[in-house]
Symmetry: C2
């Protein structure tokens, strides 16, 4: 009756059920087409969708990158490691909580000494598929992105020296760095913290019903979601929300209603490039898991996805959706909610501090 | 080569390895004695240890308690649920981080608006085996304990109304409460939040080498750990550190060196009972996983376990250990580090907020 309490003690019974399941899975795997997209006739809608979207890859590593288990495991440990922060309390997972789709579901994040960040924290899920990182695109990839919040005085408020002292103080981390970077004599350098966390992020892809649809499974979307997809494409949303992450590749000028009302708009990418054309320019966010990564817009000022659809449609496309169209798009966006890899949800048990580990500082 | 990336795609090969393992496990389970403690001759040391300690139970539920999977699962969701807090940022796991043996490894915890708590946060692991909860024993069980930090203005800073409004706003929680409390017409009451979290805590038991030793496996402890156990018993540590959690059952007057030096000692249990005999009295902490639940003492003022051994031996027993004795006890305490249940380490994916969910407040 009780599966949790008996997980260990009822192993034989569990084993038989598992064996049956696995045998059936193996039989099924031999009968089913290996690649549905390649072997079944695609519908017109699927073909139209594949013109701007593409199925998720298995991972987001590029050719020639180190993608060893040791590196990914180290990255996961570091992602969940609060001792990287000055206070010993804040880890990547504090603001990119894996239990809530890689975000904190707050307008802006809370960091060291309860300071507020300037912009809404984007999800780490599928972030490796973006062509640049941060709202203003100031870093090229997840490896470069991951090491910035650790040093930001508003976020984890650490220094490179602190991070390296923490990691060098624990034999388990020293060993793991050597395993993860086998060709480097001194792998324990700050940049490699980002390489490892980045490697972990490169497996944080979330296959969704829409992904199955793109892969040839026409039944993966409901009739309503398909209608929503038609409305989405008809309005031209895909001119910005394109690629495997449905976003994350372009920049566009955007001021939120709250910013406009206050007269204080975030300069966005201008602060990075100094180019007047980039004033108030932001990276187009990914739509994957968008139903779960509220609140919305770069200032996290809008909680309703339906309202966000209207704001963006009006601002970006000059379009006013009917209530029915809005609701259909909402249904389509729901099909972008994917499955978080089970491996990412399994907390690592972190190695113990030693007398050499820097002590937490709360101020 | 790469196990993480290929976890799904290599199912058939994995299945075969698993089947072999499970078959061997089943064969082994039939051959091995069901209860080693009952069938093998116990050593003198094991008998002496069993006079003050006892093996961990499978779970810490008492006779007649609801221990359904639904209740435990609900408890796990609530344990990891930051929206119970006023800020939407702090969950039970913030201060009782499962990745670091159920503690935050900080002298005192950091709560709402970066406020410091008054005492070191004890681990949730094996806490259900204590006869009372909190350092001052002010609550009788984990069910009553779990709902206090949620309301504490220094910790999660919520109100009962806030918590119930959060939970009632999400259909997944409403359904889960009905499944977890099938006999109650209106199960969504604040007390049941504690019942559910308490149920989750009642499975957070961590079998250790010492536990295997008590269960009859004489080889579970090293020679050094056995010597340490002899020193431990010879000094009389077990007069307070007894029972399945090696602590958690008695109170004793204790002032930390930092308190003495400052002249400001925590009144402890006196604040609860008003009894002068309880002035500076605290619950004897459990020693399970003690090597991982630093810093030590009720004010979290000592980082070294070796130093803590000396402080407590001197204060409580009037004993001065030699460096060798101290190191042997340290080795024995290392045998109390157990295995965190894998189920507890698997983050639940939390249900999405709705328009009715109260918004986070940072002040």
């Amino acid at each position: 009756m009780n599966k949790i309490l008996t997980r260990k003690s009822r192993l034989p019974a569990l084993a038989m059920v598992l064996m049956l399941f696995m045998t059936l899975t193996m039989v099924f795997n031999r009968c089913a087409p290996a690649d549905p997209a390649g072997q079944t006739e695609l519908s017109e809608l699927q073909k139209k969708a594949l013109a701007f979207a593409s199925p998720l890859p298995v991972h987001a590593f590029e050719e020639g990158m180190n993608k060893s288990d040791d590196l990914i495991e180290l990255g996961k440990m570091l992602f969940y490691e609060p001792r990287l922060s000055k206070s010993g309390l804040i880890s990547c997972n504090t603001c990119h909580n894996m239990a809530t789709f890689g975000v904190d579901q707050l307008p802006v994040s809370i960091g060291h000494m309860w300071q507020k960040g300037p912009r809404n924290a984007p999800t780490v899920l599928n972030a490796a598929l973006h062509s640049t990182q941060f709202w203003d695109g100031r870093e090229p990839d997840v490896e470069a992105q991951a090491i910035m919040p650790i040093l930001d005085p508003l976020e984890m408020a650490a220094t490179e020296d602190h991070v390296l002292a923490v990691l060098e103080s624990m034999p388990a981390y020293v060993e793991k760095f050597h395993l993860a970077f086998p060709d480097e004599e001194n792998p324990l350098v700050y940049e490699n913290v980002g390489v490892a966390i980045g490697a972990f992020e490169r497996i944080l892809l979330t296959p969704s019903p829409f992904d199955r649809f793109l892969n040839g499974d026409d039944g993966a979307l409901t009739a309503e979601q398909k209608e929503g997809l038609e409305v989405f494409m008809g309005a031209g949303c895909q001119s910005c929300h394109r690629g495997p992450a449905l976003g994350g590749t372009l920049f566009t000028v955007f001021e939120t209603p709250v910013e406009r009302a206050s007269g204080k708009s975030d300069p966005g990418r201008f602060d990075i490039t100094g180019n007047p054309l980039d004033m108030h320019s932001f990276k187009v966010p990914s739509l994957l898991n968008i139903a779960k990564t509220y609140p919305y817009l770069h200032d996290g000022s809008v909680w309703s996805l339906s309202e966000t659809i209207d704001i963006v449609a009006s601002d970006m496309l000059g379009t006013e959706f009917t209530r029915e169209e809005n609701s259909l798009i909402l249904a389509f966006l729901g099909s972008l909610t994917g499955e978080i890899p089970g491996y990412a949800l399994e907390l690592p048990v972190l190695p113990p501090s030693t007398p050499e580990t820097p002590r937490p500082a709360f101020d």
